[in-house]
């Protein structure tokens, strides 16, 4: 599915319109988040002062956090802050939200990127294969096999993966991004362990990090595999029904060339779009797998903050997710313009 903002005409007007749209979307996101924050029966003040604290302490902190202001004042204050580039401090970690996110985001990006490489790397060829062999045994096999990954609760597959490949077979590392032994060994330049360790030539750390990454990434990848396969198959079927495919065959092109040379050229933008969306989904939606694998990532950061009522952090997280989705949107829009001559 394409999130794309419909291609508008007139460069400048279009640009202004799009900027406006983005702004409205982001504002809406923030407002919704803010509203949710008020509705949530989690009490950041209580989380901070603890169960045993008395009413006086509670009220003191309540006031300090500005919770006694009217909601709209709080929201306006928050917007003002953001406009000044200040995303506030996380109540939960006492650190600037931006710093926290700069730390957890690379971990998740690493995970999601690997997962999507696996998901798309396998999913696209499998989807094409299934479409080419529609309703034949290969098709059924591919569909059912890929759906298996999609139909199991991910925390369950994650746990089973850990038991099997970590505890029993000892093929991969356990939870976390890297063995403790290596922790802090490489200087965090980008925050991406793989890149940092490669940069500093610490191949032991690199290998160890890879070893920790491969299992959660595979499981996430497997979950997106089904979606990507199905969409690829479905896009491909649409194309294979088109008359130009017959044209290609009339020319004497083999099936392989017809599929990859002609049909595939017509689905690549759609593919990039859904892969990008799946990727975006992985960035925000990896909470469960992050929990199972003790992965210090964005998903669990956001979820934990939500459950603590740490709205400063949650708002920023939501904002980031919104920006990611909008960026993916624009990317897919751009790709349509680049790859599909009809939209130029």
């Amino acid at each position: 599915m394409r999130l794309a903002l419909s291609p508008t005409s007139g460069r400048l007007a279009g640009f202004a319109r799009q900027a406006g749209t983005i702004l409205v979307t982001l504002l809406g996101l923030l407002a919704l988040t803010f509203a949710i924050g008020r509705l949530m029966p989690v009490d950041p003040v209580r989380a901070m002062v603890g169960e045993e604290a008395d009413q006086a302490t509670y009220e003191q902190v309540y006031h300090e956090l500005g919770m006694d202001q009217p909601v709209y004042v709080q929201f306006a204050d928050y917007l003002g802050q953001i406009a000044r580039g200040d995303f506030g401090t996380s109540l939960r970690t006492g650190q600037p939200v931006i710093e926290d996110i700069a730390r957890v985001m690379p971990a998740t990006i690493e995970l999601a990127t690997f997962a999507i490489l696996i998901g798309a790397g396998l999913g696209v060829p499998l989807g094409v294969l299934a479409a080419a062999r529609k309703n034949r045994p290969t098709d059924h096999l591919v569909r059912v096999a890929t759906l298996l990954g999609h139909s199991m609760p991910i925390f369950w597959t994650g746990m089973i993966g850990l038991i099997l490949f970590y505890a029993r077979l000892d093929w991969v590392g356990g939870g976390g991004r890297v063995s403790d032994f290596y922790d802090g060994m490489v200087e965090p330049r980008t925050g991406f362990l793989l890149i940092d360790s490669a940069l500093s030539g610490d191949w032991d750390v690199f290998g160890d990090a890879l070893n920790h990454l491969i299992l959660p990434a595979s499981i996430l990848g497997l979950a997106s595999l089904a979606y990507i396969t199905r969409m690829t198959r479905s896009f491909m079927l649409d194309q294979l029904n088109q008359e130009y495919i017959t044209t290609a065959r009339v020319k004497g092109l083999s099936q392989t060339r017809t599929i990859w040379g002609h049909a595939f050229a017509n689905i690549r933008v759609q593919l990039v779009t859904i892969v990008a969306l799946a990727y975006g989904g992985l960035l925000e939606g990896a909470v469960l797998i992050e929990t199972v694998f003790s992965w210090p990532g964005f998903g669990s950061y956001m979820t934990n903050n939500m459950l603590t009522g740490d709205m400063n952090a949650v708002m920023t997280c939501v904002l980031i997710v919104g920006v990611i989705f909008i960026a993916l949107n624009l990317l897919s829009d751009l790709l349509y313009r680049v790859f599909d001559p009809r939209t130029r």
């Binding site: 989380a47 009413q55 509670y58 850990l162 505890a167 403790d180 032994f181 003790s294 210090p296």
Partner: protein, 510 residues
Amino acid sequence: ETPKDQLVVGFSMTNVLTLDPAAITGREPVQILANVYDNLVTLDAKDRAKVNPDLAESWAIAPDNKSITFHLRDDAVFASGNPVTAQDVVWSLNRLMTLNLAQASFLKTHGFTKENAGASFTAPDERTVVVTLPKPVDPKVIVQTLGIVGPGSVLDSKLVMENEKDGDLGADWLNTHSAGSGKFTFDGWKANDRVILTRNGDYWGEPSAMKRVIMRHIPESQNQRLMLEKGDIDIGFSLAGPDLKALSAEEGVEVISQPGSGFYYLAVSMKDERLAKPKVREALRYLIDYDGINAAIMPYYGQAHQRPIASGVIGAMPDPGYTLDVDRAKTLLSEAGYPDGFKVTLRALADAPFMSTATAIQATLKQAGIDAEIISGSGEQIYGAMRERNFELLVGRGGGGQLPHPDSNLRAIIYNPDNSDAAKLTNFQGWRTSFYDPEINAAIDAALIESDADKQVAMYHDIQGRIATVVPSIQPFAEVLDSVAYRADLENFTLNPSWGTDLGAITKDR
């Protein structure tokens, strides 16, 4: 395998919100700070009633029980190199009361306030600290209080003040930095990931054998267990019952389980007219499958215990022996006017072992015709409702006990000096459940200031006797157990019931 000179500890750090000793809540931060900050005294890890010297070599209670004088040792230094002085101690206590955050409540209970802090904590000289009690209490309780991490933690006042911002008494800086004199120091923590403690080479006592301690956030118990089995972590602090059970059979892993603080209980709200009837509460007392729950659900979480005073402290008594007795409960219900039972809600946290316990209690209530609908949720939805006195039944955990003194339990669970809604005594579970018995209140107050040890024990026995007959709003069915698993090659691992396990004492036998 973990390195020989590093200790890797797994636990769930979801609740670590700050590392400022005045502001921490919950048990995980205590476990961290215990190894970073020293107190005047420490509570003995084995003998709960015993208090050991730490920064204070000795202390003396004034004959009139109105003040305590601590004498500091003279070789103690902070990790920064600054000497530990009486001013630091007094400053730390003042800071605690001024900030008035979570950890202040321990002292506030005994009459200390922001306002009287200046007069209560004084330093006649560099090495002497005098604590003057604002109201009559058993001074032993105050000494114990100063032994717990948080209220008693001594901070490096110079270092903190160097990092003060806008008169916050260093609160912001202390979130992520340490200013203690303990065996380790840290430089911030990564939320959701880990805290790394580095050996304090200049520690005034015996330095730690471990170069560093890595405390890892491993929220999933099973993951902790697998890593422990494989030796990727040395200690697992937040393991669930089933995993501990499995680990106890595992070669190379030891499991210890010892009484911690607090109880698992069934609470009722006396605001509910049905539950306000003593007969109904008594019926509920006989509708808990004590044996079943403790055998099937509680192992490693708790052990059978039916009285509101922890085992091992003064005045503790054996259990009265309540059992599941549906017929008796039914009779009691009929007498109370509910022969066919009624409908209620039963709140419980969505975690283990609360949910299973609630489920089990729901089933036994059903046998007497009481139809309980379980409401599960986050802390706010369960305890929040309790704080607002807006609940019916609740399976919970609590009841003080960080201090090895019966008063700590009774005050937390039954004491309620003012039952009005406006009083908002949300830190007393007595108030939360609207249980109000002036007689018991008076007895608790009296027992606390009784200076004759034998008499005091007798008074606590009397209180427990009265509790058995009036059936208060909270019925414990188990006492909290702290259960930890660790690699068998660790030596000198002693689990501290106050969560302040000394990791610096541990060595590895390889």
